[in-house]
Amino acid sequence: MGQTIIEKILSSHSGQEARANEIVVARVDYVMGQDGTAPLAIRAFNEMGGSRVFDPECVAFVIDHSAPSPNEGVSALHKMMREFVREKGFRLFDIGEGVCHQVVPESGVVGPGSLVIGADSHTCTYGALNAFSTGVGSTDLAGGLISGRMWFKVPETVKFVCNGTLAPGVYSKDLILHLIGEVTADGATYLAAEYAGEAIAALSQEARFTIANMAIEMGAKAGLMEADEKTMAWLRRYTDREFKPVSADPDASYARILEYDVAKLEPQVARPHRVDNVAPLSQVAGKPVQQALIGTCTNGRLEDLRIAAGILGGRKVHRDVRLIVAPASRRVFLDAMAEGIIQTLVQAGAAVVTPGCGPCVGTHNGVPSDGETVISTANRNFKGRMGNSNAEIYLASPASVAASALTGKITDPREYI
């Protein structure tokens, strides 16, 4: 019997033939923590009697969730992280460098066949690079920092085969929202997801990250894709390291194989207050919005900003809307400046904030008021997510958010393409 992608990666990292439902202790290639989770991990590290991290080259902390610090409580936690990193001699991505799920791939440390744990639920993002990467909590993170290992129950895999071609104005965000709506928020709990088919192959590498990023929103432990020429070309921009792609065997065993024809898919939204409360955008078109957010680990990459600039260029954001743009990383910010994208967005009326997670996680940089509606490119719309439980959040593609920022109401981006 053949193996799935995740069974192969767990086999190569545990030294045993890993099969679904077995428990393995596996070597990890990279360990990451962010400022919402690392402070508790430092506490657990000390409780565990840790003295050094297993390999300083394979560890990073990222200060992105509240960056720069909005208050003294956060400042104290950031200081604690900086001191720990200095003492242990590993890498810190400090304020302004970007969101963990952008800076880790950009630093060239993760690629096909890698095994990564991160103390952030959206660590599944690197599955788009054919890696097994998954979110853990702070205590597991501390265990990984000390030992360079982690225990896993080998998950079964659900395979999503996406056939057909996405129509113009319909993006990978619309596709993943649709899939989450289909299988619901716990449709892949305890499972790994594999995304395949001609629609996935046709996506750019950047667009693929959006899909893998949201695997956790269907409960999945990982969201994996096979590597192709686009994957390898993307990696070559950031590293000289050699990676060996991992493919599923043709006779691998899957929990389920789900096939979709995406050709007729329209722009989608996730309505408040659940990511799986998905509908075609047309069903909520015209709903007034007061804030629009373009950014986050889901949709803050160069291509996303370029799409938004394409719609906002030469136009003005509606006077009743605040448009907030948070590039996913400093590199994205610089690339977007070099291309004139930032200029276009700012001229249209956008407020550009420091690369980071702030608005999406409700820490600062755009907390909505009572009764307000936000349209966002983020991955979660839970009540209170952006810092106010009396506000509503709709999730959509960067194009849909940009179009809605122009008109002041939820708007189909195809009117502007």
């Binding site: 428990i23 409780e47 956060v74 909590g137 205590t139 265990g143 409960g219 820490t363 439980s389």
Partner: protein
């Protein structure tokens, strides 16, 4: 381990933002302070209502969302005895075991708010004293029983210096 208490019932897909909002959790490592805000967005009075040893009872996919370990810790520091749900999101489930919050997978349909329960992890069953019924518990994986018995993952590492499941 055996626990007794009364129940507070919630629905499906209780996410970690509802358990402890991001606007609080990033500021402090004082879990007693965070515990005052536990479940606030679903029930603003929850912290005032809950007594030591009470149970949170929920439907499917409890703890979905973020990997924040502050979620099980806030529940634990609110002195909740255990969380009972039909299913749990996997990161929350691991975090709860690692930090010593008992999590129990079982059929919660026939448990109502205010019911008096006794949860017996060794016997693998829950006795609903109010209704006079017995509900079986889905057993934990052996690895997790080992971690729980050692007193959480930090204590496990203290004892063995790494993962030891042999």
């Amino acid at each position: 381990m055996q626990f007794s208490g009364k129940t507070h019932k919630f629905g499906n897909d209780v996410n970690t933002d509802y358990i402890i909002s991001g606007k609080y959790k990033f500021k402090t490592l004082d879990m007693k302070e965070l515990a005052k805000h536990v479940m606030e967005d679903l029930d603003p009075d929850f912290y005032g209502k809950v007594s030591t040893g009470d149970f949170i009872v929920a439907g499917t996919n409890f703890g979905c969302g973020s990997s924040r370990e502050q979620a099980p810790l806030a529940i634990k520091y609110a002195d909740v005895g255990a969380v009972l749900a039909k299913s749990f999101a996997r990161i929350f489930y691991r975090n709860a075991i690692n930090t010593g919050l008992p999590v129990v997978e079982c059929d919660t349909d026939r448990i109502e708010p205010g019911d008096e329960l006794t949860v017996d992890l060794e016997a693998g069953q829950i006795t609903n004293k109010t209704k006079g019924t017995v509900i079986p518990i889905k057993p934990l994986p052996k690895v997790m029983i080992k971690i729980l018995n050692d007193g959480g993952l930090a204590a496990h590492f203290q004892k063995y210096g790494g993962f030891n499941f042999s």
